[in-house]
């Protein structure tokens, strides 16, 4: 790696200052505020607070509704990640074969990433609407087959599909880049060795894609824990009966609807620790099994 050395440290400081400022304003400052609030009782209308110690955390961890939200979040994260990664991988494998019209197809597959989460939510709310959307035809044939408005499982599946759909584009870009980084001659060597397309995929391409796969996995799991707010808010608002009340959505509801700033801050801290822990675990135990060539 090339490194630049600055003789004058002031210039170096000046060059990195904008970046540091952005990180400070948008990450360290809010995080430290949340941390402070999590250990105090903040008043809903401002004006004074009271030291609480671990009281906020104790309240949360003894609350069944909070544990329910954690469970729902884990199911959502697992479902959305598996769904979006497998869909993206299949699409990328097709794009990598460079059949006719793959350029247009590639652009089409990347596009969803440019759509804002609430817009995705609205679009899927229409598609999955049991009485007006596309699914209403299915319901007409099989009454009661699909009802995300009343059925919590249906609602969670619906949110998962919408979240996965949005993430597919991002995963697709990485999978396609990863597949195209595999030297063509390796695949040709596989062909000469007698392996069929599927066999080459299994023995050569997928193992060599493992580093990309791991990276995408970490990003997807983290993303499904922290970035699912827009979809839940537009599609279900956490319902029905809190069936889609993901941790990140509950923070918003408790903080800004319930005006429980301290409880919401404590939830943010827990979510942050959870994401950090997940990332560490993935790096410690999965990365080792990935061959970096």
């Amino acid at each position: 790696m090339r490194r630049a050395y600055f003789r004058n440290n002031w210039i170096a400081a000046l060059v990195v200052a904008p970046q540091l400022l952005i990180i400070f304003v948008f990450f360290y400052w809010p995080t430290s505020q949340a941390l402070y609030w999590a250990f105090t009782f903040e008043q809903p209308w401002g004006g004074g607070n009271e030291w609480a110690g671990f009281e906020n955390f104790r309240n949360l961890l003894t609350d069944d509704r909070y544990w329910h939200s954690i469970r729902v979040s884990i199911v959502y994260a697992a479902g959305a990640t598996v769904l979006s990664m497998s869909a993206a991988l299949i699409l990328a494998v097709f794009a990598d074969r460079q059949l006719r019209g793959y350029r247009a197809y590639r652009i089409g597959a990347i596009w969803p990433y440019a759509v804002a989460a609430p817009a995705v939510g609205l679009a899927f709310r229409f598609i999955f609407n049991p009485s007006a959307g596309v699914m209403s035809y299915v319901n007409e044939a099989f009454p009661g087959f699909w009802d995300p408005i009343l059925n919590g499982d249906h609602a969670l599946i619906m949110v998962m599909i919408a979240g996965a759909w949005k993430q597919v584009a991002y995963n697709f870009i990485f999978f396609l880049a990863g597949l195209q980084a595999i030297p063509r001659s390796l695949i040709e060597a596989g062909a000469m060795d007698g392996a069929s397309i599927l066999r080459r995929m299994r023995d050569i391409q997928l193992p060599l894609l493992a580093p990309t796969f791991f990276f995408v996995l970490v990003i997807n799991i983290n993303d499904s824990f922290t970035d699912s707010f827009g979809i839940v808010d537009t599609m279900t608002a956490g319902g029905p009966a809190r069936a889609t009340n993901l941790m990140v959505y509950k923070i918003y509801v408790d903080g800004f609807r319930g005006l429980d700033y301290s409880g919401a801050a404590a939830q943010s801290i827990i979510l942050m620790l959870l994401v950090i822990a997940l990332t560490v675990v993935q790096f410690r135990y999965i990365e080792r099994r990935v061959h970096y060539t």
């Binding site: 030297p183 001659s185 390796l186 040709e188 060597a189 596989g190 062909a191 000469m192 060795d193 007698g194 392996a195 069929s196 066999r199 023995d203 050569i204 193992p207 060599l208 061959h291 060539t293």
Partner: protein, 369 residues
Amino acid sequence: MADIDIREVRKSYGKDEVIHGVNLHIANGEFVVILGPSGCGKSTLLRMIAGLEDITDGEVVIGGSVVNDLEPRYRGCAMVFQNYALYPHFNVADNIGYALKVAGVKKAERMEKVAAVARSVGLEDFLDRKPGQLSGGQRQRVAMARAIIREPGVFLFDEPLSNLDAKLRVQMRHEIRRIHSRIKATSVFVTHDQHEGMTLADRMVIMNKGTIDQVGTPAEVYRYPATIYVAGFIGSPAMNFLPGEIAADRAAVMLGDGTAIPIPAQVARNRDRQMVTLGLRPEDLTLGDAGAGTVTAQFEFYEETGAAGLYHLLIEDLPFQVLTKEARPVQEGAPVGVAFDFDKLHLFDSDSGQRIDLRTETRVMEAAQ
């Protein structure tokens, strides 16, 4: 075991035709080297035999059956790639044995064969290593072993030695020759290195801009190059070229400085006033005093090659080289005589670039009279 027949094969990328109707027959067990500069289409031709490129037009026949529409795996060819193309996540044993694994050979039998083949190329101590832990020469051996283990009818080599250093390259060259005399598979070897071609080939195929200029044994190609292009490409140092014009009345080729190079009268009569290019190999020339010899040149500088010395001269501002063992001290810019050996002249038609074969042409005309 299989022979290869290439019939009027063409390759186009969009509107650009890169191979213009090539015909070539490679006999069973023969070692053929396709030689040419980068971009002449030699690798493309090889990849069309392998099945890695579509054939735009014409036919490739291996062992009697047309293989144009067959997948690589049904063609019975093994290939050694330029960058080795080893599977980085497999160890050496798995790399060598992959073809057998795909073919469904049982593990015990497979490992036995892998061990035998690895021993034959000197890799028995490296079976557990990953390709990343091997040197260039060892990787090359793995690539060879991977091809050998399949016992293919046809061996294809795509510039397999170009990533090795000079010494290793010579060593691997000998090893390839040895392997070929042992397993006798039909081999097609693509390279841009004439030494590789000359030393390995039973027959050489010289390609130029998507066509075959000449097919012949290394000695034939060196002694009787069919075109100016082949003449300049084969031989090191490269052949000297001098422009001239045929004069029937003098039965000679007239050079720019008025020197007359005698040629058979029948040929001269038949090709009067034709513009020709005279080809002279540096090693077929001798130096003499200024005024002696066939032409007089200007001395530029001297290059020691060890076994002999290379004299760089100028004739009418054209560079001209003489390779000789005889030591001759000359001043820079001083005139020096160069003697031609008229038996070892090469004559080419300047327009078409084709060889004018003095002997056969004389014979043919004598027979006609």
